[in-house]
């Protein structure tokens, strides 16, 4: 990213022009020819015809991934906070659905998926040029059976949920304005490059020219979504500091019924997330669907059983958390592993994330309110590494076997996976830290003590979650 700073300004200026002068900028409104390189690309792949089945599945998957953020995550996270903050969490999810979509449409997609080299995209798709329909035709994604519009909106749903996951770390105390500023910047500066590195032949893409350590396999977002959000979440938790009364006051989840239902919605939506990442409705999509399901299942069982053994009772919060941990862990691997290894991955995630949430957090004393780091950071890291072990050419012949199947291929792959984890984590941590410091110095990060005690629903949004009297 640092190698092409000029591009940022190009992008920013172009987008402003597109937006404010847009009515005149005919190109934005569809009368200009698609950008040159897109046209050039077309002849290379004359077979890129619309596959209505693929498109049907990808549109469905897009809806499913949005469904994950809200109602899914909104309900999952909303149930975990105290009553007085339930709306603030839902507002974060809902507002991120809105604001991140605009960012994605205006410049995010272009920076992430523009064909701009190893570090960052370019301005080709700014303001949806080259993505939107032209002369009644929707430009296709070369080599795939789906329009670029479909690809754009599917990927845009990831751009929503990733920052929403981070909200778990600073729930119940962050200013809404600071949250908005953080996420717009984070999405632009952290997410879009990462996305480009991993999924647009960038420096972390497996087999890409000049990729670090040969690049890494990440089918649906272990690095891009979970490690990035998880480690950024940890930074947020540390920088903001614990909630008032943390460790002393009653901070039990106020509505575990919501949390259970939200977890189930995440599970259902995750099929779009992972199986949709096949970008087709083929056997690979089915395989990704299956391993996602089995990993979630194994994660839920594993976390519950560990609780059962160590604490005497399996809890529904444990089962829900385990399912999510399993889903996180299988995400990078979902297009590369077989069903039984998926069960093993899910089970491992259930156990490891339980330890991360129950033991590690307690020991270090940071207040990651809803365990965004414990589940997404740790679960994502575990998934990235296990992908290096369980990946198999039986599922993805064009990639590589993991360590279990081939030492010669799996060894380097595992190194690539670990390098990708480290790069992603370090990059996320550093930029997030800088962003938080800047926001703290300008807007301020935390609400006042009085507002925090009164609850963010009232102090930040002037509303109450439930009014059961009368």
């Amino acid at each position: 990213m640092r190698t092409s700073p000029r591009r940022w300004w190009v992008g920013a200026i172009a987008v402003c022009a597109a937006l404010w002068g847009g009515i005149e900028t005919a190109g934005v409104f569809g009368e200009e020819a698609p950008p040159e390189d897109e046209v050039a690309a077309a002849p290379e792949t004359p077979a890129s015809e619309l596959d209505t089945g693929a498109n049907a599945w990808m549109l469905t998957s897009s809806a499913l991934v949005l469904f994950m953020t809200a109602p899914g995550l909104a309900m999952f996270y909303g149930g975990l906070v105290r009553r007085k903050n339930v709306l603030s969490v839902m507002m974060q999810c809902l507002f991120l659905m809105a604001i991140m979509s605009l960012v994605w449409g205006l410049w995010g997609y272009s920076l992430a998926f523009g064909d701009g080299g190893r570090w960052i995209g370019n301005a080709d798709y700014l303001g949806m040029r080259g993505v939107q329909m032209e002369a009644g035709q929707a430009p296709m994604v070369p080599g795939l059976g789906i329009p670029r519009l479909t690809h754009m909106v599917f990927q845009g749903m990831f751009f929503i949920i990733t920052p929403a996951l981070i909200c778990g770390a600073f729930a119940e105390r962050m200013k809404f304005s600071a949250m908005v500023a953080l996420m717009v910047l984070w999405g632009t500066i952290v997410y879009t490059p990462l996305c480009h590195w991993v999924w647009a032949e960038g420096v972390l893409a497996f087999g890409a020219d000049g990729a670090f350590a040969g690049g890494a396999l990440d089918f649906a977002g272990g690095t891009v979504v979970h490690i990035s959000s998880g480690f950024s979440a940890l930074v947020c938790a540390l920088v903001l500091g614990p909630r008032l009364g943390y460790g002393h006051d009653d901070m039990r989840p106020h509505n575990l019924a919501f949390t259970s239902l939200g977890a189930a919605m995440l599970w259902v939506g995750w099929f779009g997330f992972n199986a949709g990442s096949a970008l087709a409705a083929d056997g690979l999509a089915a395989s990704a669907f299956v391993v996602t399901h089995f990993s979630a299942a194994a994660g839920a069982v594993a976390w519950s059983v560990v609780e059962w053994v160590y604490r005497g009772k399996p809890s529904v919060l444990g089962a829900a958390s385990g399912a999510v941990a399993g889903l996180v862990c299988i995400t990078p691997a979902s297009g590369f592993v077989q069903p039984l290894p998926a069960m093993i991955m899910g089970a491992a995630a259930g156990v490891v994330c339980f330890i991360a949430c129950a033991a590690v957090k307690t020991r270090f004393g940071y207040d990651d309110s809803l365990d965004a780091f414990g589940v997404h950071g740790i679960g994502g890291t575990l998934g990235a590494i296990l992908t290096g072990i369980f990946a198999t050419r039986a599922v993805a012949p064009d990639y590589a076997d993991g360590l279990l199947y081939s030492v010669s291929e799996g060894g380097p792959l595992l190194v690539g996976q670990i390098v990708a984890v480290v790069v992603t984590a370090v990059f996320s941590i550093v930029v997030t830290l800088v962003l938080l410091k800047v926001i703290d110095a300008t807007i301020g990060l935390r609400v006042s003590q009085e507002d925090e005690m009164r609850g963010l629903d009232l102090s930040e949004h002037g509303e109450e979650g439930y009014i059961f009297t009368g």
Partner: protein, 112 residues
């Protein structure tokens, strides 16, 4: 007049109400409370965190009655509120200076 406040178990409410009714006590006011006492609470676990919950859900009945009816009310509550296990609750009795029926303005025992 007397005011009788009884803290009892939830599932005894129906019995106590019916018994009072049978004994001619046709008015009472009830509220949800949480009690702390000899009866132990419990612990709850949420991921890493363990919470000790000392308060136990109870129901509080308030009955206002004439001095004459006091014993009847107390006995009825004692009889129908009892399980014999720790946590059955308490009855508190205090004097009441006056009672008024809002609808009519009637005062004293006529208001009950």
């Amino acid at each position: 007049m007397k005011k009788i406040e009884a803290i009892i178990r939830h599932f005894k409410l129906e019995d106590v109400k019916n018994a009072l009714n049978e004994h001619g006590i046709h008015g009472m006011t009830v509220q949800e409370v949480r009690g702390y006492g000899r009866q132990k609470g419990h612990t709850e676990m949420y991921r890493g965190a363990e919470y000790t919950v000392d308060f136990v859900p109870k129901v509080k009945i308030e009955v206002v009655c004439s001095d004459d009816n006091l014993d009847r009310v107390v006995d009825t509550i004692l009889k129908h509120g009892q399980t014999g296990e720790i946590g059955d609750g308490k009855i508190f009795i205090s004097d009441l200076q006056d009672a008024i029926r809002i609808r009519t303005g009637e005062r004293g025992e006529a208001a009950l």
